[in-house]
Amino acid sequence: MMNLGMAMITADRLVRLAPVDLVIVVFYFVLVLAIGFYLKGRSNTGEDFFLAGREMTAWIAGLSFLSANLGALELMGWAAASYQYGILAAHWYWIGAIPAMLFLGLVMMPFYYISKTHSVPGYLKLRFGEASRALSAICFAFMTVLMSGINMYAMALVMKVVLGWDINFSIWVSSITVAVYVTLGGLRSAIFNEVLQFILIWAGALVIPVMGLIEAGGWKALQLKVAQNASVEYTHLWSTLGSFKDNPMGIHWTGIVFGLGFVISFAYWTTDFLVVQRVLAAKDLRAAKMAPIIGAAFKMFVPFIVILPGLLGLAVLPMKLTGEAAAVASGGHSYNEVLPLMLARYCGPGLLGLGITALIAGFMSGMAGNVSAFSTVWTYDIYKALIKKTATDAHYVLMGRWSTFVGVLISILTAYLVMQFLSIMDYVQALFSFFVAPLFGTVILGMLWKRATAAGGFWGLLAGTVSSVGMWAWVKVDPTALRYVALSSDAKDMAENMYRGLWSWILCVVVTVAVSMVTKPKPESELVGLVYGATEIPSEAEVPLYQKPVFWAVIVTIVFIALNIIFW
């Protein structure tokens, strides 16, 4: 999805805002800053600043958990993917998210929450020791600010193409706004604004599928039009996945189920601190378990505002959208512009401003998520652990505020660096994926297997990460190696990422198990609150059925299965 910005750099301005649209956009900036200033006085302790006082309800934590992931590049990128590949893109919202989110809520959250860790690297410290924490914290902090800068640059490009805004103006205004409200109010401010942004994204984007379905004549008529303009496979989720060559994405169901549905999605949704941090802010264990389940319930319906507009674009847009190179050559529009094109198609003054605000809100929620997670990991897992071990709580809060500010500055520098060297976007995207899959192997073994040792955890994580980097470099140096890494010389980038993640996860697990078997485990008394079998999970026997997380997880699972069958 990172190619989105690059693709749009050559396009013309798509929409022109009326004064009322500008008022709506300006009002949004004023409101998020007002929330930051209002919450300034409520972030004086470390617990307040880094974990929002651990007092968020399940709803707020759950919506924030989802919103931190729902950036505008995500919205526009997956709308483009659905125009290009059809409804297959919805797999990234359903099997590529829902099982992992439910697993986080029901199985992993008790250990994250009961251990009272501030972060995912903090959990590794408690379970596997300082070396594992240092490795994961440094990788995470480095990658997070780089990703934040890349997203910022891509956002500025989108604003330039869609609205004709100057790139420097977009970068500085959005980043200063995020820096102000996160520095002032910490995680609580980030979470409040993420919930606001989540609502605005829906309010601004929901018009497109509603109007689109009216214009197309309903779902059945839409399917017919898509079949005429593209192919009948574009509206089928599973029935075309029996063979690589039968579907627009060139993918097999095993890749979707095991690569995406298991390793990639579980790795991202259960160990990426950017999203997990929101759930750690929940007010109690039951809220912490419910938050990802609430997030999953809403996640299931995000394709309505992301995937459906892409399909509607296939059905109703008068022009044919093309790949980036063809769009540049012909002066036409690329896949990546499908969402703004649909927005401009149906939205007049006022609605257009809200739609643009939804995109800006998406960008800013993603950036705020990155810098608040960076600030916590830097302060607790790097600065406090490795540089200044003893200081007052106020000192660490001050460090948190400064690291937020510095994190934004590094992001801005990254954005300008990317402007000079566009290929950095591809490298950093790949680098980020190196680390997440093995981290999931380390964390899940740590939580579920008492025998896993500190040495096993560290060497497994290191081996998984190094092997992932190695496989990526191997294919870069010798492209024919793709047939070994991705099992096919025809594999596309997405397939390569999935298989690389799968192999690095397996290697991490194998090395962790092997090293653990020959090293001395921790005594069980030191595993209390950290590992299954050594931790007493509070009973929910007295809780009414409708308040039990497992009840709602079953409901979500039923809807999830129904959606997959309906769109089979």
């Binding site: 009002f27 209002y38 606001l196 007049g348 006022g350 609605l351």
Partner: protein
């Protein structure tokens, strides 16, 4: 206001929906009385009017329900 003295996030959301709803609704009404030369697709459905009205009503409900001055 909540028991701990903070304004609920839902109040801020109500304010946002209310202000946006009013602006979009009024813009829709203006377009009704002054139809633009270049119209969006399905202009005759007047999406700005009903969508603005929906946001306005939801925003108003949230502003009242989570009003900080309410006991």
């Amino acid at each position: 206001m909540r028991s701990d003295g903070t304004i609920s996030i839902w109040f801020f959301i109500g304010v946002s929906l209310l202000v946006n709803g009013v602006l979009i609704f009024l813009a829709g009404l203006y377009q009704l009385s002054h139809p633009p030369a270049v119209k969006v697709v399905l202009y005759d459905l007047h999406a700005s009017v009903w969508w603005g009205a929906i946001l306005l009503i939801i925003g108003l409900i949230y502003c009242i329900r989570y009003n900080p001055n309410r006991a």
